[in-house]
């Protein structure tokens, strides 16, 4: 399963960082920022905050990766860090955003340039790309429509590929609670996807 491969990759990168491999550090820092970007958009729905969350993930990963005693625990630590960074950003404001921005639409720079800049994948024709983009947009809007406690579980488990145990660690809840929330989240997401 993808989740297992990803978990093993993080642990391997952390071990390489601890052995002094600078390329591994670069790869880990990029992954940390990718996680922060997706989490900001999919869970918090704040593309404007993504840069802050990415910066936080970058610096904390840089400081922590060389020191962590259990490399297998790194991934849960990273998601906990990113979640906390997003929550801090959220506390500065009162409300959730009215509209979530689709992942494809959030690539603009601070001046508003370069929106919708995903590169064309030569392996897919325009029709297939349009279908994919539309499905992705439906997924983003459906996620935004379900309550945050369910949204965060389905993002961590189904999209980010964390194990049930890792999700429990990130959220500070029991594994049984993760499973209950995940089932409810899947049902809610299914309803939203059907409604769009």
């Amino acid at each position: 399963m993808q989740a297992d491969r990803d978990g093993a990759t993080y642990a391997a990168l952390v071990r390489a960082v601890q052995a002094g491999d600078e390329r591994a550090m670069e790869a880990l820092l990029m992954r940390a920022q990718e996680v922060a970007y997706r989490f900001s958009l999919l869970v918090c729905g704040r593309p404007d905050d993504a840069d802050d969350a990415m910066q936080e993930a970058l610096l904390k990963t840089y400081r922590y990766a060389a020191r962590i005693r259990e490399p297998e625990a790194f991934r849960a630590w990273l998601y906990r860090t990113v979640r906390n960074a997003c929550l801090i950003g959220r506390r500065k404001r009162v409300n959730e955003p009215e509209h979530f921005v689709a992942l494809d639409d959030a690539g603009g720079d601070r001046d508003g340039h370069e929106r919708r800049v995903d590169a064309i994948d030569p392996a897919h024709g325009p029709e297939e790309q349009a279908l994919t983009s539309s499905l992705r947009s439906r997924l983003t809007r459906s996620l935004a429509a379900i309550p945050r406690p369910y949204r965060v579980v389905v993002v961590l488990r189904e999209i980010e590929g964390l194990s049930t145990r890792e999700v429990a660690e990130v959220l500070g809840i029991s594994e049984a609670n993760v499973k209950t929330r995940l089932h409810r989240a899947r049902l809610l997401l299914r309803e939203e996807l059907e409604a769009l």
Binding site: Y37, M54, L59, E114, D118, L139, R186, L193
Partner: protein, 94 residues
């Protein structure tokens, strides 16, 4: 996805609670067989299971696109800047 008809059997509610665990392969063999027997007899629950599978598949396939190029460039620039600065800071600290 098509919405299945409303739950029509008291057993359906019970089985629906276990569908995610069935999907994730977490049920004991006896419980799994009981669900599979029920699914063969109940198109309603079978439809729910199919739509849950589709929902999970959409998350797996569509949830993790690459970073948009502009975001990736900023991310790479931050990494380069940090790794350039870090040795100088360590040297000053000595």
């Amino acid at each position: 996805m098509t919405r299945p008809p409303a739950v029509h059997d008291h057993r359906c509610a019970e089985f629906l609670q276990s569908l995610s665990r069935y999907l994730d392969g977490e049920l004991a063999a006896a419980d799994r067989r009981a669900i599979e027997r029920h699914l063969r007899e109940c198109p309603c629950c079978e439809d729910v299971l199919d739509s849950l599978k589709q929902t999970v598949a959409i998350c797996h396939e569509e949830g993790r696109p690459e970073l948009p190029p502009a975001v990736r460039r900023r991310a790479r620039a931050r990494v380069s800047a940090l790794l350039r600065q870090a040795p100088r800071q360590r040297a000053r600290a000595r």
